[in-house]
């Protein structure tokens, strides 16, 4: 039975996510403009007044514009799938947030089914397979992309959908390998437990398994389909890819979903590798909290997420997009081996780390951190040596044949 507590949490989460998405569109436009030496949107303030507020009214204007657009369906589309695709994507992306903690707990006890416990800041507390759930829900996005590309009855959309499908499926693997290391260290798939474990040891997973962070970060970027991995959309040659034929509220759903994917990727990076709500000397690490601590934990988590999102936005303008063969090489020949090496290192450490570091008289986590960074550097160097040192994919001179 959904309790009042859950319903309130769901309402707050949806409202918060939609507002955040709207305002992060504005932030994204600002960042994009600043990087291009422009000022960005700074005109729209409070409607019907001259107050500008640095353009903070822009999301309202954008929303009204999107909602008041003509609802236009191209002829010859597969109507059922065409309407279903954005809905599937959006619902799946929203569902993933059910198990993502937005903080730790509130110091109010509630009684449910005879047991008393504090309110946890997550819609579905205590889901033991939280990590799996997030990525299961997240990978449903590929359905939306493929259905949208197919149902649009447009060659560009289809190509975009195919590219995107291949990309999302390929990067699921390194993404999973990146998580496995964290799960192995924490001994649990619960996101709350993963955070608590990092908070109690005081060492974030980013420090002890930098290779895992690297793999997860790059794969997370690719999964969220943003530059430099936006082959699905490829504005330059595919005119928007799978959502070329969408407009109005359906396009809004798709665009919001893309932001939600970026949120999920940022939340997971922060929770799995950067200690979630933990910050040394500020948030404590116990499960007993007071009001200030509870609020600080929420702010710390959201602050970290915001920084990650800002990095996403800056990254968009920093590097050229990958060619498709480079994208696939990256997934299968770079990230997959790196992820396996990371997994192997952690497996060895989980098995022998305690004994070895006790024999050496050093704290286990310090030993692990040193090992992790050495493995990162060595693995990176080996890959750099092993991969072909040109990116040219033209036919070789020898195979060019007679002229």
């Amino acid at each position: 039975m959904p309790t009042l507590e859950t319903l309130v949490k769901i309402a707050l989460l949806i409202a918060g996510l939609m507002t955040a998405a709207a305002y992060l569109v504005l932030v994204e436009r600002w960042v994009a403009a600043w990087i291009q030496d422009r000022l960005g949107p700074n005109r729209v303030g409070i409607p019907l007044t001259k107050v500008r507020l640095f353009g903070l009214g822009q999301p309202i204007a954008d929303g009204v514009k999107f909602l008041s657009k003509e609802e236009c369906t191209p002829a010859y589309v597969d109507r059922l799938l065409y309407f279903l695709a954005p809905i599937i994507m959006f619902v799946a992306a929203m569902a993933a947030f059910a198990v993502v903690p937005i903080g730790s707990v509130l110091p109010i006890d509630v009684e449910i089914d005879g047991t008393t416990r504090p309110i946890e800041l997550v819609v579905a507390p205590g889901v033991d397979v939280g990590t799996v759930f997030v990525f299961a829900a997240g990978s449903i996005a590929v359905f939306g992309v493929l259905l949208g590309g197919w149902a649009s009855n447009n060659k560009y959309s289809l190509l975009g959908g195919l590219r995107s499908g291949a990309q999302l499926l390929s990067y699921e693997l390194p993404l999973g390998l990146g998580i496995l290391g964290v799960v192995m260290v924490a001994g649990s798939l619960r996101l709350e437990t993963i955070i608590t474990q990092q908070a109690q040891s005081g060492v974030w997973n980013a420090a002890i398994e930098p290779l895992g962070l690297l793999v997860f970060f790059v794969a997370g970027f690719a999964e969220s389909g943003r530059l430099p991995f936006d082959l699905a959309e490829a504005e330059q040659e595919l005119v928007g890819g799978y959502h070329t034929e969408y407009g109005g509220i359906k396009l809004l759903l798709i665009l919001v979903t893309e932001f939600l994917h970026m949120f999920i990727a940022s939340f997971m990076i922060v929770i799995l590798f950067f200690g979630g709500w933990h910050l040394w000397g500020l948030t404590g690490s116990g499960s007993e909290v007071t009001w200030p601590v509870a609020i600080i934990r929420v702010l710390v988590l959201l602050g970290k997420v915001l920084l990650t999102i800002l990095f996403f936005m800056v990254a968009r303008w920093s590097w050229p997009r990958f060619r498709f063969d480079q994208l696939m090489t990256m997934a299968w020949k770079v990230l997959l081996p790196l992820g396996l090496v990371n997994l192997l290192t952690l497996a060895v450490w989980v098995e022998y780390g305690d004994r070895v570091s006790r024999a050496m008289g050093l704290p286990p986590l310090a030993v692990m951190a040193v090992c992790g960074w050495i493995v990162l550097i060595v693995a990176w160097a080996v890959l750099a040596w092993a991969l072909p040192n040109t990116t040219d994919n033209r036919p070789r001179r020898e195979s060019a044949g007679e002229l």
Partner: protein, 202 residues
């Protein structure tokens, strides 16, 4: 010239692509010896780690993120062209020292105009110093591509482009500038932008 002689005259012919893209019935007269394959430069040890590209891209964006912005906050701020005398904005028709239109209706500007936006009706001049003068002189500013060829062509420096750039109107008819309006633009801009040549009584 022999067709299979790879001489200078055949340089415009493309070689057949290896994938048969440009396959032609006739053999392409480019000898293998003259083909030059351009190889992509090999990456060094640093380039192969991807780190220089990574850091280079990031520092470039961060530098611009914090750098000076070039936006002009129109309409509160006005963009002023660095050199208004060479800016190609709205046309004007110059007046001579006695305040008469300088144009002699020679049609050189209308002939030079690639967009055919200048329409002149010539009439016999009421003044003794020239034979003709423009009875009407219309420029369709919506057709104009602001190339400046009319200005180049004018033998008496009568038509000039000013530095007014924010040209707008509410109808197409309004955007067809007649002689009075073009002379008015001269009156408006003559102080800020003097005539480029003082020849012909300017």
């Amino acid at each position: 010239m022999k067709r299979d002689d790879p001489g200078k005259g055949d340089r415009h012919l493309l070689p057949t692509g290896p994938d048969g893209c440009f396959a032609q019935k006739v053999p392409v007269p480019v000898s293998r010896a003259k083909l030059r394959w351009i190889e992509e430069p090999k990456l060094g040890p640093a380039g192969r780690t991807y780190l220089p590209l990574f850091l280079g891209g990031l520092t470039t964006t961060l530098r611009h993120l914090l750098g000076r912005k070039v936006t002009v906050q129109s309409p509160e701020e006005r963009y002023s062209p660095p050199d208004p005398l060479i800016y190609r904005g709205v046309h004007r028709l110059n007046r001579d020292a006695e305040g008469r239109v300088k144009c002699v209706a020679c049609f050189l500007c209308a002939t030079a105009c690639p967009a055919h936006c200048i329409d002149i009706v010539a009439a016999e001049s009421p003044w003794p110093d020239r034979e003709k003068y423009p009875q009407t002189f219309n420029i369709d500013e919506l057709r104009c591509i602001f190339c400046g060829m009319c200005e180049e062509a004018c033998p008496v420096d009568a038509i000039e482009l000013t530095s007014l750039y924010d040209l707008s109107g509410k109808s197409r008819e309004e955007m067809i500038f007649d002689k009075a309006k073009l002379l008015g633009i001269y009156d408006m801009t003559k102080d800020a932008e003097p005539m480029r040549s003082s020849r012909n009584g300017g």
